[in-house]
């Protein structure tokens, strides 16, 4: 009697986990990073003494107040609180009892992995897992800085990826929509539009700040802009009636051509130059980096969207929908969008990878994120200064590899889901 090796449910589950490993690990990481303040922090989650029982994480001012009241402030300072005040009590610490800013040492030292923290070991009731699991550099725990740094990286990458996708689809969609409808306009109209733009520049941006202060309030700013637009519009209507033979010849402007040239010109500027000068304008906070990278990252995606949408626009079902008089917006959402996912998903995932690399290299060069923000690239840079601190280079780099790979694998997974009938790779029929 031999039992046939049928897969049990456990093996099925394990197989499922293996197949969706990338998805699961990124999901878990995102969940982890969402609740990061209660997972890695230098403030106890809960303090319980004879008199008090409260959460310093949620009510920091109350904790400050209590620390002020205590008189004997001894050796132990961590983060911004002097927890020695509560030595007689018991604490519940986060799993990683450090944050990216907590400098536990008077003289910042670098400890190898698994080294116990000397300050914590002086404490009567130390946290359960108080070792530096991945070591520390400059007195800051590496695991905590990696977690906070990868949170920043993910925010920047996903945010900039999403924003640049929106920008690219907007611009690429406009290019396709106006491809067969070039703007026919008379020379007069064209000149009038340019004059209007110059007027808006002059009266709302240039001379307004020098005008009397009564005209500088927000309401009057709006009023001025409305007035300019109104005058411009009336002028346009009035001058249309006057038959100028000189201004009649019409010119065709293709928006598609203009957008293609814009992309070409933007691509010729060295990216580093643009990133640095934009970060001088916008600043170098996390959300500023999202804005900067998305302003530079849309061009490649816009090209792909433009060609794909143009291919689709000649296909039968979209022509039929147009013929039936369905509104362009509804055609976009019901026909273009679902059909564009599969050609876009791989370029999108590789652009996320490039964004991650750009972000980490910029912070390696100390020109990306502000220096008070934790970042994987900056961690690697601090490691390069000292030859013996191998852990400061190894672990952030491995985290980077992990993030890049998961993003890449997830891209391929999504492509497989969206497009199961994808033509398989050409077989080698000859040899």
């Amino acid at each position: 009697m031999s039992s046939s090796p049928t897969p049990t449910s456990l093996i099925k589950l394990l197989k499922w986990i293996w197949r969706n490993l990338a998805m699961l690990s990124l999901g878990l990481l995102c969940l982890l990073l969402l609740f990061l303040p209660i997972i890695a922090n230098d403030i106890p989650l809960w303090v319980h003494t004879k008199e008090h029982s409260f959460s310093p994480l949620l009510s920091p001012t109350y904790a400050d107040q209590l620390v002020e009241e205590k008189e004997d402030k001894t050796f132990f300072t961590l983060g911004s609180y002097d927890w020695s005040a509560f030595q007689d009590g018991s604490y519940i610490w986060p799993i990683v009892p450090y944050s990216h800013t907590s400098n536990t040492e008077r003289i910042p030292a670098a400890y190898p992995p698994l080294h116990p923290n000397p300050t914590f070991s002086k404490l009567a009731d130390p946290p359960l897992l108080s070792r530096h699991w991945l070591g520390s550099s400059l007195g800051v725990d590496l695991l905590a800085s990696i977690l906070y740094g990868s949170r920043n990286s993910l925010i920047i990458v996903l945010g900039a990826g999403f924003l640049s996708l929106v920008l690219a689809s907007l611009i690429g969609g406009l290019a396709v929509y106006f491809k067969n409808k070039p703007f026919h306009s008379s020379l007069w109209d064209f000149g009038w539009i340019i004059l209007g733009l110059l007027g808006v520049y002059f009266w709302t941006f240039y001379s307004r700040q020098h005008l009397p202060s009564s005209l500088q309030e927000t309401a009057s700013k709006l009023l001025i802009t409305c007035l300019i637009i109104g005058i411009w519009w009336i002028g346009k209507k009035v001058f249309k009636r006057i038959p100028f033979s000189f201004f009649q010849p019409s010119i065709r402007i293709s928006l598609d051509f203009l957008i293609l040239k814009l992309i070409e010109v933007l691509n010729t500027f060295p990216a580093l130059m643009l990133i640095i000068s934009l970060s001088i304008f916008f600043g170098n906070d996390v959300w500023d980096m999202v804005l900067i990278l998305s302003l530079l990252g849309w061009t490649g995606l816009a090209r792909i969207i433009r060609t794909e949408a143009f291919k689709l626009s000649t296909s039968g079902f979209i022509r039929t929908a147009e013929g039936l008089g369905i509104s362009p917006i509804s055609i976009f959402f019901r026909h273009y969008l679902p059909n564009m996912v599969s050609p876009l998903i791989l370029p999108m995932s590789s652009s996320l990878k490039v964004l991650l690399l750009v972000e980490s290299s910029l912070s390696y060069l100390n020109i990306g994120l502000a220096s008070n923000q934790p970042s994987l690239g900056r961690l690697i840079a601090t490691g390069t200064t000292n030859l013996s601190d191998w852990w400061t280079i190894l672990f952030p780099g491995l985290t980077l590899c992990f993030l890049i790979l998961t993003l890449h694998i997830i891209g391929e997974k999504i492509r497989d889901w969206v497009d199961p009938f994808m033509v398989p790779e050409a077989e080698n029929r000859l040899i």
Partner: protein
């Protein structure tokens, strides 16, 4: 074909022209460049005042900062006849506000001329008097504190301050602030910075002088100094990448979907996720660390050719210096190109003409390496056109890691120091190369596949 080439080349000219315009506009967004130049090196309050002021004036003349930026500008009517093209940004802002508040451009110009005349006069007599310092400060103060400064001048010496005060009263005697709301176009003629810059490039290929005070000041010489380092290492790395990745890709395509191919593909997939700057650092730590494997030297820049050394010996001597940088540079290209060769060769291998060649008895080796690979390399060559700008612009991060004096480092320095002439040079160079790269890849794909026709 020639006609197409000629039209495309002619089409580059307006685009390059547009890029120079945009670059100039971009440089105008950084008034800091001039401000730095004038304030950092030469503070007017420092000890040897006279020398500094002379130096400052000389620098302003040298870099032509006292002439307008462009042929025309849109300003308000109030600024007509006013003091234009002031080199110091704070001073320019102050006098512009004075113009707009009063509407009397000509009177403001007279006011400024009076101040400067008085300064020059006093400079000859006593260069460190309190009155002169206050007078000089007047031009650097914000608009709001002019009257305060004038009061101070009057208290120091009412007699000396008389012409300045009367000129200031002149401005507001017939003020017309409504003029600030009327736009006009101020035309500057041909004597502007853009015209001179473009003219000197077109006539004598002179790209101007760098703001950095060092032994090499000319932009062309600077770029000529940094370019060979970047160009040599990037060309070598591309060559290595091609030599490695083409056989690798062919091998993978021939063994398609066998376990060897799958294993190698997975390996390349994982290696693709490894950032090359991190790999470079790891390799440097492992192989140039005196405590560990001391196989190579880290300083690529130290490998300077010695006089009278033969090329062969130079290369031999350079190998230990170059091995790790070359690996780090070519690593990304190898992964990218070998995947690409594999995919395109597989595409070609399934086509009919190879089957017919095989039927006619062409040997397998010739079939693959001559018939199939020639067609399969076309997309690879087309894509390589996109590498051309990166050959010259260089990788900043790898240059930083291996301490190579290359274009990437120079670009970084120029951006941080607002070295506008060098920035413009780099910008135009990289723009030209990018556009040429597009053109070359278009031409190659046309030459390879005559069915491809590009609309002009």
């Amino acid at each position: 074909m020639l006609k197409y080439l000629a039209i495309r080349l002619l089409g580059l000219i307006p685009l390059l022209f547009l890029i120079t315009l945009l670059g100039f506009g971009y440089s105008a967004l950084f008034p800091l460049s001039n401000e730095r130049l004038l304030n950092e090196e030469l503070t007017p309050e420092s000890e040897d005042n006279k020398v500094n002021i002379r130096k400052q004036k000389a620098l302003v003349d040298y870099y032509k900062l006292n002439i307008p930026l462009f042929y025309f500008e849109i300003r308000s009517l109030a600024e007509k006849g006013g003091p234009a093209h002031i080199s110091s940004p704070t001073e320019r802002r102050m006098f512009r506000k004075l113009c707009l508040a009063s509407g009397q451009g000509a009177a403001v110009k007279r006011f400024r001329d009076t101040i400067i005349d008085l300064e020059d006069q006093l400079q000859g007599q006593d260069s460190s008097s309190a009155f002169l310092i206050e007078l000089r400060l007047l031009r650097q103060r914000p608009f709001q504190s002019i009257s305060y400064s004038l009061n101070k001048l009057a208290t120091i010496s009412a007699e000396q301050a008389q012409p300045v005060l009367s000129a200031y009263e002149d401005i507001y005697s017939t003020s017309a602030p409504w003029k600030a709301g009327i736009p006009t176009i101020l035309s500057h003629g041909l004597n502007n910075r853009y015209h001179l810059w473009l003219g000197s490039i077109l006539s004598g290929f002179d790209w101007g002088k760098s703001y950095k005070s060092s032994s090499i000041t000319s932009v062309t010489e600077r770029l000529g100094y940094y370019m060979p380092w970047t160009l040599s290492i990037s060309l070598l790395s591309i060559l290595i990448a091609l030599v490695v990745s083409i056989p690798l890709g062919v091998w993978m395509a021939l063994k398609a979907n066998s376990w060897k191919d799958k294993g190698l593909r997975n390996l390349l997939f994982f290696l693709d996720g490894v950032p090359r700057f991190w790999l470079a650092i790891i390799m440097l730590k492992l192989f140039t660390n005196p405590d560990f494997l001391h196989l190579s030297n880290s300083e690529y820049a130290n490998a300077v050719p010695v006089e009278g050394e033969s090329m062969f010996h130079l290369i031999l001597r350079m190998i230990p210096f170059m091995a790790i940088p070359l690996f780090a540079y070519s690593y990304g290209y190898i992964i990218y190109l070998s995947r690409m060769v594999r995919a395109s060769l597989l595409d070609v291998l399934s086509q009919e003409f190879l089957l017919s060649a095989k039927v006619r008895g062409v040997p397998n080796k010739k079939l693959i390496w001559k018939y199939a690979l020639k067609n399969a390399l076309l997309p690879v060559i087309t894509v390589s056109g996109a590498f051309i700008p990166s050959l010259v612009s260089g990788s900043v991060i790898l240059e930083r890691i291996f301490s190579i004096n290359g274009m990437g480092e120079e670009t970084l320095r120029a951006v941080f120091e607002f070295d506008v002439p060098v920035l413009l040079g780099i910008l135009v160079l990289s723009a030209t190369l990018t556009l040429l790269g597009y053109l070359i890849s278009d031409l190659i794909s046309m030459w390879v596949d005559p069915r491809v026709r590009f609309d002009l």
